[in-house]
């Protein structure tokens, strides 16, 4: 598994990815998704394996990096670290920031490694199952992915569905792939090739975040002093080993489901840690079990989310949507064929994720104090720089100024979407899955000779449709209050 990594170039990429991921994770508002989107255009200069290793190491390290900010300034560096604030910051306020970060580092590493093991075992099994899939099954699967995102993802299910449908709609811009007829191009030549992934991804994540930051300039962060990160004591291990293992399992499972991976996983991991704890009253006041529950789960979701991404081409989280974009722009089609034809490529990714988890443990343990200083970089300097990189990165892909304008348009749109409670993640996932959804639907209709009811005669497709209905109905049944639905 590690053999493909024994090259100085790949190790260097891995090292850089882990360090960069930590920096991104520490900076509130950036995180592995936005950071991955920013670095995506630069990966074009790398070979596919190096590019994906860079993105996955950013994913693993960035997810952990969010804990440093959560513990020290009570602001999650990434949304997945929100639950870590609940106990990490109170423990840091008691003068035990080192202990809190030590627990976060150990549980993140265990969760991350656990999830890589899950990935190594389950991704090939899922890919083998996918051999049974024809066009109707892939269509049903893509629909299931989108409905799961609507029901489990952040925000209201209906708004998520609208955002997902909008993402698919964006994918229809340009020449129709079956008939070459122009759609939504309005005579603009540049639009006939469609709207690229990168301008949309960078706009929705980076530029919209820049606009969000412009509304938060009054925010003042109070940083708790950190002397050194301390490894958990024997007592801490006794208290938390079950929680870490449970959360690792929960995180990996949630990660496999096409949803917002780490964020949901950490919240469930945290609440389950509280439910099983002998001292639930300590939660919210600096419980190490709370930190372990949240951190093991969010890092375990990283490997879990890679399972459907690599085996089926359905992203398991926002960041894996960016990784999937990376795979597509490098000409790598995830799915069962990838497992059969390029196993060394996949083992390279698995190995890289394993090493990234070990690397961020080392960097986090010895360098958390330095990374914490990065939070002191003021937004008024940081974001203009991010803008310059975003613009040049987006331009670099097809050397088109139109792409830059599309990026700005989606940045403004993304800001208003977030303001009015629409998550931007379904747009990206819809955009990525759009071609698959439309292509498989139209090819299925050709296979079925126009008889839509034939979908119901395919057992696997029917199962996915039923699961999609359950996924859609679940939040409606669960939420008693109407404001949870809308």
């Amino acid at each position: 598994m590690m053999a493909p990594l024994f090259s100085s170039k790949l190790l260097l990429v891995l090292l850089f990815g882990t360090l960069f991921g930590l920096v991104l994770g520490v900076l509130p508002g950036l995180g592995p998704t936005t950071g991955g989107a920013l670095i995506l255009p630069f990966t074009m200069t790398l070979d596919p394996l190096s590019a994906i290793i860079l993105l996955t190491s950013i994913y693993c390290a960035g997810t952990y990096g969010g804990a440093i900010t959560a513990v020290l300034i009570n602001t999650p560096g990434t949304p997945a670290a929100a639950a870590t604030c609940l106990d990490g910051y109170p423990l840091a306020q008691k003068g035990e920031a080192g202990r809190a970060l030590g627990m976060a580092t150990v549980s993140s590493t265990v969760g991350g490694i656990f999830s890589v093991i899950v990935l190594v075992f389950f991704a090939p099994i899922l890919a083998n199952l996918a051999y049974e899939f024809g066009q109707p099954e892939y269509f049903a699967l893509a629909i299931f992915g989108l409905t799961m995102l609507a029901s489990i993802g952040d925000g209201s299910p209906i708004k998520n569905l609208i955002a997902g449908a909008f993402g698919i709609l964006i994918s229809t811009v340009g020449k129709d792939f079956m008939t070459s007829i122009d759609r939504f191009t309005y005579g603009i030549n540049e639009l006939s090739v469609g709207i690229g992934f990168i301008p949309v991804v960078v706009g929705l994540f980076a530029i919209s975040e820049m606009l969000t930051q412009s509304t938060l300039l009054d925010q003042v962060f109070k940083r708790v002093a950190l002397k050194a990160v301390k490894l958990p004591t024997k007592d801490d291990y006794k208290k938390t080993w079950k929680t870490i293992l449970r959360s690792s399992g929960i995180g990996s499972f949630i990660g496999v489901l096409p949803a917002e991976g780490g964020t949901v996983a950490s919240l469930i991991g945290y609440s389950e840690a509280k439910r099983f704890s002998k001292n639930p009253e300590e939660f919210g006041k600096g419980s190490v079990e709370g930190i372990a529950g949240a951190e093991a789960a969010n890092n375990a979701a990283t490997g879990g989310a890679m399972v459907p991404t690599l085996a089926l081409g359905i992203p398991g989280s926002a960041t894996t949507a960016v990784i999937l974009t990376g795979l597509i722009i490098h000409g790598v089609r995830p799915g069962p064929d990838l497992f059969k034809e390029q196993p060394e490529f996949l083992y390279g990714i698995f190995g890289a994720m394993l090493v990234a988890n070990i690397l961020f443990f080392i960097f986090g343990f010895f360098g958390a104090k330095i990374f914490a200083r990065i939070t002191l970089v003021p937004n008024k300097i940081l974001w203009p720089m991010i803008f310059a990189v975003s613009v040049c990165g987006t331009y670099s892909l097809s050397q088109s100024i139109i792409d830059v304008w599309i990026m700005l348009f989606f940045g403004v749109l993304g800001f208003f979407m977030r303001r009015y409670g629409f998550s931007v993640v379904p747009v990206i996932i819809g955009l990525i899955l759009g071609e698959l959804v439309e292509g498989t639907l139209r090819q299925s209709i050709v296979i079925f000779d126009g008889n839509w009811l034939m979908f119901l005669t395919r057992p696997i497709a029917l199962t996915f449709f039923i699961l999609s209905l359950i996924a859609l109905a679940f939040p409606l049944i669960r939420s008693k209050k109407i404001n949870k639905i809308i």
């Binding site: 709609l169 079956m178 939504f184 008024k380 310059a388 050397q399 100024i401 439309e438 639907l441």
Partner: protein
């Protein structure tokens, strides 16, 4: 009791078209309807070549779905209390203005000049007053980015009054 009174007062104080939900509903429905109408002008495949559905059918279906779902959200929003929207702060509008400036300058004068102007504009209006940092974000950093993209990645930027100094 007070809550009920507040809700009633809030309901009376704002006409429906000022409500956030209505503005969102109206915008989505308007844009979707325009796009839906435009799908009727898409070319069609002659029946003899047509396999499956016409190219316009899928986007039409999506737009109808968006309109239906948006209407459901709007209908459900009637059951929620009205909430006044928080006003956007001045730096937000200045950032948007800087985007417009960026587009104008990059189109008419120079791509890198546009980046520099936006950077200094945003940095200044977000509160930075130290000359060194303003120079850092507006000149030094864009220069580093230019060198990186041009020399390391081999990218050619669009011509402009400053970029031409390097190219010619």
């Amino acid at each position: 009791m007070n809550n009920v009174r507040d809700k009633k007062r809030a309901n009376k104080s704002l006409p429906f078209f000022f409500r956030t939900e209505f503005k969102v509903f109206f915008t989505i429905i308007l844009v979707s309807t325009i796009l839906l109408i435009s799908t009727f002008s898409f070319d069609t495949v002659p029946p003899i070549l047509n396999r499956g559905i016409q190219p316009a059918t899928f986007p039409k279906g999506l737009l109808v779905l968006i309109i239906v779902l948006t209407s459901i959200i709007y209908y459900l929003s009637f059951k929620r209390p009205w909430k006044k929207e928080k006003n956007l702060p001045k730096p937000f509008f200045l950032t948007i203005i800087s985007f417009v400036l960026f587009i104008i300058i990059s189109k008419t004068l120079d791509f890198f000049l546009a980046i520099s102007v936006l950077s200094v504009f945003v940095s200044y209006y977000w509160g930075e007053r130290r000359i060194f940092y303003l120079l850092l974000v507006s000149i030094i950093f864009p220069l580093v980015v230019f060198i990186f993209f041009e020399m390391i990645l081999g990218l050619r930027f669009p011509p402009g009054i400053i970029t031409n100094l390097y190219y010619y």
